[in-house]
């Protein structure tokens, strides 16, 4: 991993995710802080990424690095944690039955992934599917159900869910721009995930063609 990536790009990228992850535009702009449960999910996600090798914390912090470099590593991890909490905040509905279902579903899914300990690529693919599905459910399906004006999707869903009260499913109606912001936030978050120093990455080559001596010896997978 290059120094600039660690020192500038990753922290700024993750902080941008943390900033815009709470943006909800209705009649006024609200910045929603992450609920407590998203912190638990973010912590689990951190565990999943470390277990799979998608994140190698020893490349960010180790005794061989200078203290300042270790502080930079801590900043990357801290900003990643904040961004992960806000990414879950983006993906999880804010109230009612959907929120409980999403919370339980994501918790079980992350625990399952942690137990299965797949490799980096599989974890990233799996996370893409999880966050992508959550985005579609929250910003397209639930938003259509909650829309007081109603559209063709609401009518279809109402006929499919005939007999089920929608009172527990409906959410606060936000401006469509909220969905676009959420999409941008999740895209940025995944870009950050892909850029994290992984255990399987090719060793860094310095400008003089030498291997980065700040890294500890690679461990077999």
């Amino acid at each position: 991993m290059s120094r600039n990536l660690e020192v500038f790009y990753l922290p700024l990228l993750f902080l941008t995710v943390a900033l815009f992850g709470g943006v909800r535009v209705a009649r006024q702009v609200v910045l929603m802080p992450p609920p407590l449960f998203t912190l638990v999910l973010a912590f689990l996600l951190l565990g999943v990424l470390v277990r799979s090798g998608a994140l190698a914390p020893e490349r960010l912090m180790n005794p061989a690095r200078p203290p300042l470099a270790n502080v930079s590593g801590v900043v990357v991890l801290a900003t990643f944690f904040a961004a992960a909490a806000q990414a879950f905040n983006v993906a999880i509905p804010e109230s009612g039955l959907p929120r409980i279902l999403f919370d339980v579903f994501l918790l079980v899914l992350l625990l399952n992934t942690l137990a299965a300990s797949p490799d980096r690529l599989r974890v990233l693919r799996s996370l893409l599917v999880i966050f992508g599905s959550a985005f579609v459910l929250k910003y397209i399906v639930l938003a259509a159900l909650s829309d007081p004006a109603g559209g063709w999707l609401k009518r279809v869903l109402q006929s499919v869910l005939e007999g089920l009260t929608l009172g527990t499913l409906t959410q606060t109606v936000y401006s469509p721009i909220t969905g676009y912001v959420a999409f941008g936030v999740l895209t940025l978050f995944f870009a950050g995930l892909a850029l994290l120093p992984s255990r399987s990455a090719v060793p860094d080559i310095g400008p003089g063609g030498q291997q980065d001596n700040l890294l500890p010896p690679r461990r077999p997978l």
């Binding site: 020192v7 500038f8 922290p11 902080l15 300042l68 502080v71 930079s72 900043v75």
Partner: protein, 189 residues
């Protein structure tokens, strides 16, 4: 010249200087990156605490944080003139222009007072206007030093945020005393 360079290379001095320069550049970059990241993080937390609704509110809150916020004096005087002439809507427009970031406790106090006077009724009060007055006076109390808002204006019967807030809360309360016929003889403050 060439021989001298060769000599110094042999003694290893350019190598040490280059390594020192590289180390310095590395440290500078890391310190710069840390400073930027910490500043950005503080800004994000500050935004989530302040919850600004407009760019004016955001810049106003930022300048207020460093003690550089100033209201538009002319607009404030206009607002005061409208307020004293019982033109409350016009007064609030002028006060909003004077304090677009909602950071001045005195202006917010007058906005609350204008809602109070407009919403006050001999038979019943306008709950919506009273609720807005309560929001404004709460904002004024939060902004003031130690929460103490005192406005030295002889035209006002309530000169502190606490008095105004208590009056508004009493006005919003609905109980048996609402049916007391003597309430018809009360006076607007």
């Amino acid at each position: 010249m060439r021989a001298k360079h060769m000599l110094s290379r042999q003694s290893g001095q350019p190598g040490i200087i280059a390594a020192t320069m590289r180390s310095l550049r590395e440290s500078t970059a890391r310190v710069l990156g840390l400073t930027i990241a910490v500043s950005y993080a503080v800004f994000v937390v500050w935004l989530y605490v302040q919850q600004p609704q407009t760019v004016a509110e955001m810049t106003g809150a930022l300048t207020a944080t460093v003690g550089a916020y100033q209201i538009d004096r002319q607009a404030f005087d206009d607002g005061l003139r409208f307020f004293r002439g019982d033109q409350f809507d016009a007064a609030r427009l002028a006060f909003d222009r004077a304090d677009p970031a909602h950071q001045d406790p005195r202006t917010q106090f007058y906005i609350a007072y204008s809602y109070y006077r407009q919403g006050w009724g001999r038979v019943y009060n306008d709950d919506v206007l009273f609720a807005r007055a309560l929001e404004s006076v709460d904002r004024a109390i939060i902004l003031a030093d130690h929460g103490r808002v005192v406005v030295d204006d002889p035209d006002l019967q309530m000169r502190s945020g606490d008095e105004l807030k208590a009056e508004l809360q009493a006005g919003l309360r609905h109980d048996a005393s609402d049916f007391n016929p003597l309430k018809l003889f009360r006076r607007r403050k």
